[in-house]
C-alpha cells in the first residue's frame, strides 16, 4: 500500500470517524448537561429574542474596542472566509466531498483556489505573529501553538501539492490528506470546536445578560 493509498483510504476514513463521533460526543456531552432554569422574573420581556440576537451581534467587536482589536478581527475574518472557500469551493475538494456524500456543486478556477489558500496561510501567519508579540494579551498555552500548526499544515501542503513543488506530487498529495486527517481527528478535542461552540456560547451569554436586563 502506497502512502497515497493509505492517506486517502484508511487514514482519512479513520479521521472522519473520529471527527463525527467526537463532535457528537462533545456537543451532546455538554448540551445535555443543561443548567436549571433561572426562576427569577426576567427584566426584559424580549430577553430570549435579544439573547439569540447576540449570536450575530457578537460577530463584530463593539465600537469601543475597534481600535485595539481591528487587526485580529480583520485577519481572523480573512482567514476564516478564505479557508472556508478553499475547503468547499475548489474542484479536488468538491470531488472528495462528492465521493463521500454524492453532493456536487460548481467549483472555483484553480488559480483562485491558490490565491485563496495563499491568503489564508498569510492571514494565519499574521495572527500567530500578533500572538507571539503580545504574550500578555493571549496568555498562550502549548495547545494554542499545536493547534496553529495543525491548521497551517493542510494549507501549506495543499498549496505545495497544487503547485507541484517540494516532493513528488503523489507524496505531497498524501501528506496533504494526512495533514487534513490529523486536523479532523484533533478538531473535536481542541479549541477548534469553537466552530460549533460559538453559537451556543454567544447565545448563552446573550440570554443570561438579557434576563438581567443588561443591554449587549
Amino acid at each position: 500500500m502506497s502512502l497515497l493509498e493509505f492517506a486517502r483510504g484508511p487514514a482519512i476514513h479513520a479521521s472522519l470517524i473520529i471527527l463525527v463521533a467526537g463532535i457528537f460526543l462533545r456537543l451532546l456531552g455538554v448540551l445535555v448537561l443543561t443548567r436549571g432554569a433561572d426562576l427569577s422574573r426576567p427584566r426584559d420581556a424580549f430577553g430570549n429574542f435579544k439573547g439569540y440576537r447576540t449570536v450575530f451581534s457578537r460577530a463584530w467587536p463593539s465600537s469601543e474596542f475597534t481600535t485595539t482589536t481591528i487587526y485580529q478581527t480583520v485577519m481572523a475574518y480573512v482567514f476564516h472566509i478564505s479557508t472556508l472557500l478553499v475547503v468547499v469551493a475548489i474542484v479536488p475538494h468538491i470531488e472528495f466531498i462528492t465521493s463521500l456524500t454524492g453532493l456536487s456543486w460548481p467549483g472555483l478556477p484553480n488559480f483562485i483556489g491558490v490565491a485563496l489558500g495563499t491568503i489564508a496561510l498569510a492571514s494565519l501567519i499574521a495572527l500567530i505573529l500578533r500572538r507571539l508579540s503580545n504574550p500578555a494579551v493571549y496568555n498562550s498555552t502549548l495547545g494554542d501553538y499545536v493547534t496553529w500548526i495543525i491548521v497551517a499544515l493542510p494549507l501549506l501542503t495543499g498549496l505545495m501539492a497544487f503547485a507541484h513543488v517540494g516532493l513528488r506530487y503523489e507524496t505531497m498529495l498524501a501528506l496533504h490528506i494526512l495533514s487534513a486527517a490529523l486536523l479532523f481527528a484533533y478538531m473535536p478535542f481542541s479549541k477548534l470546536m469553537h466552530a460549533f461552540w460559538f453559537i451556543f456560547s454567544r447565545a448563552q451569554s446573550g440570554l443570561a445578560y438579557a434576563h438581567k436586563g443588561v443591554r449587549i
Binding site: S2, L4, E5, R8, G9, P10, I12, H13, L16, I17, I18, V20, A21, G22, I23, F24, L25, R26, L27, L28, G29, V30, L31, V32, L33, V91, P92, H93, E95, F96, S99, L100, T101, G107, L108, P109, N110, F111, I112, H164, R168, Y169, E170, L173
Partner: protein, 352 residues
C-alpha cells in the same frame, strides 16, 4: 564462420536512410540526457553492433507489450531494432516451437553466459501451476534464465510491478520479477503497454555505452519516467482555469477540456506519453479524449475506479460515519446524564 549481420546491415537492407538513423540516435541520446557527442558515438556503435543475445520471457501477460513494439503502422527503427535483437527466444515471435525453442534458449544462455539480457513481460505466479511453458513453471524458467544474465529489463507493468495479474484478488498469487530476482541489475520499463521508444532507448544505451540508464525510486529510467504527465499535458491550462469535462459527450469534452473529473490519473503518473506521444507522435490517450489510467504506476488497477478522480476518498459509503455519529451521540449523552445524576446526588447530600 558465417558473417553475422550488424544492426547497420539490417537497417540498410530495410531501406532506412543514414539521416533517419542519426535522427533516431540523437533523439534517443537527448532523451536519455546523454552528452551531445554521444549521438554520433551511439550511431557508430549501434550500426556496428552485432546481434546481442536477448532472451525474452513471456509469463502472465497479454502480449500487448510485444504488440506495441511490433505493430507500429510503418517499419520504424524501434521495431527494426527489436527484430534485430529478439531472435534468440521469444514465445510469440520465434519460428521454432516446442523442444527446439527451449533448446535455443538453453543454448543462448550457455553460449552467452554473463553477457545476455533477459527481457520479461508478464508477472510470475507463485502458484506455479498457473502458468507454465514447455512444462517449466514461470518462476523456475525466470530463475534459470537469470542465473547467468547481465541484466534484466522488465517490459511492461506486469513484470515490473505485477500489473493486472496482481490486481485484487490476485488469484495466481502473482509477483513482479523483482520479488524473485534480487542479485541482478533490473530496469523497469512499465506501461500497459510501455512506450516503444522507452524500450529501445534502454537497449540502445546498454548496447552503445555498456551501462544501464539512471533509474528512479521505482526502478524506471528517469529519462522516460521522470516527468509527470499532468505537468506535461497540453490540457493543463484548462485544469488551471477550472474548465473540466463532466461527461464524455458534453461541451467540455468536445472542446478538449481537462479530464480530471472523469478520472484522469495524470497527476499521479510518470511517463513520457504527453511529450513523446504514441504512433510516431500522433496522439496519446488524453489527446484522444480519455483520461490517463496511470498504467506505468505500481498497483494502477487497484488505485480506484478508472472514472474516479484522483481526489476521491477510497473507503466505500458513509455507513461507518453514521455509526460513529450515533456512538458519539450516545457516549456524549450518557456521560452528561451520569454527570447530572452525580451532581444531583451531591446536592441531595449537601441538603441532607
Amino acid at each position: 564462420m558465417a558473417y553475422e549481420a550488424t544492426f547497420g546491415d539490417v537497417l540498410r537492407s530495410q531501406g532506412v536512410s543514414r539521416r533517419a538513423f542519426l535522427k533516431f540516435c540523437s533523439t534517443t541520446a537527448s532523451l536519455l540526457a546523454l552528452p551531445a557527442g554521444t549521438a554520433t558515438a551511439m550511431a557508430e556503435a549501434l550500426s556496428e553492433t552485432r546481434r546481442p543475445s536477448v532472451i525474452w520471457l513471456s509469463f502472465q501477460e497479454c502480449t500487448g507489450c510485444t504488440e506495441a513494439l511490433t505493430r507500429s503502422h510503418a517499419p520504424t527503427i524501434e521495431n527494426l531494432m527489436f527484430n534485430f535483437i529478439s531472435l534468440d527466444y521469444h514465445h510469440t515471435l520465434q519460428a521454432a516451437a516446442g523442444e527446439a525453442a527451449e533448446h535455443a534458449r538453453e543454448e543462448a544462455e550457455r553460449e552467452n553466459a554473463g553477457k545476455y539480457l533477459v527481457l520479461v513481460d508478464g508477472s510470475v505466479p507463485m502458484l506455479e501451476y498457473c502458468s507454465t511453458v514447455a512444462g517449466i513453471s514461470n518462476k523456475a524458467m525466470l530463475e534459470d534464465a537469470c542465473t547467468n544474465a547481465a541484466a534484466v529489463i522488465n517490459i511492461g507493468t506486469c513484470s515490473a510491478y505485477g500489473g493486472i495479474p496482481v490486481a485484487k484478488p490476485n488469484p495466481t498469487q502473482a509477483v513482479p520479477v523483482g520479488h524473485i530476482i534480487k542479485d541482478k541489475p533490473i530496469v523497469n520499463v512499465p506501461g500497459c503497454p510501455p512506450m516503444p521508444l522507452a524500450i529501445t532507448g534502454v537497449i540502445a544505451q546498454y548496447l552503445t555505452l555498456g551501462k544501464l540508464p539512471e533509474l528512479d525510486h521505482l526502478g524506471r529510467p528517469v529519462a522516460f519516467f521522470g516527468e509527470n504527465i499532468h505537468d506535461r499535458c497540453y490540457r493543463r491550462p484548462f485544469y488551471d482555469r477550472g474548465q473540466f469535462a463532466e461527461t464524455f459527450d458534453d461541451e467540455g469534452a468536445r472542446k478538449g477540456w481537462c479530464l480530471y473529473k472523469l478520472g484522469c490519473k495524470a497527476p499521479v503518473t510518470y511517463n513520457a506519453c504527453a511529450h513523446l506521444k504514441w504512433n510516431n507522435g500522433v496522439s496519446f490517450p488524453i489527446q484522444s479524449g480519455h483520461g490517463c489510467l496511470g498504467c506505468s504506476e505500481p498497483g494502477f488497477w487497484d488505485m480506484g475506479g478508472v472514472y474516479e478522480s484522483v481526489a476521491t476518498g477510497k473507503f466505500g459509503d458513509g455507513t461507518r460515519l453514521g455509526a460513529a455519529a450515533l456512538a458519539g451521540a450516545a457516549l456524549g449523552a450518557g456521560a452528561a446524564v451520569l454527570a447530572r445524576r452525580k451532581k444531583a446526588h451531591v446536592h441531595e447530600e449537601d441538603a441532607g
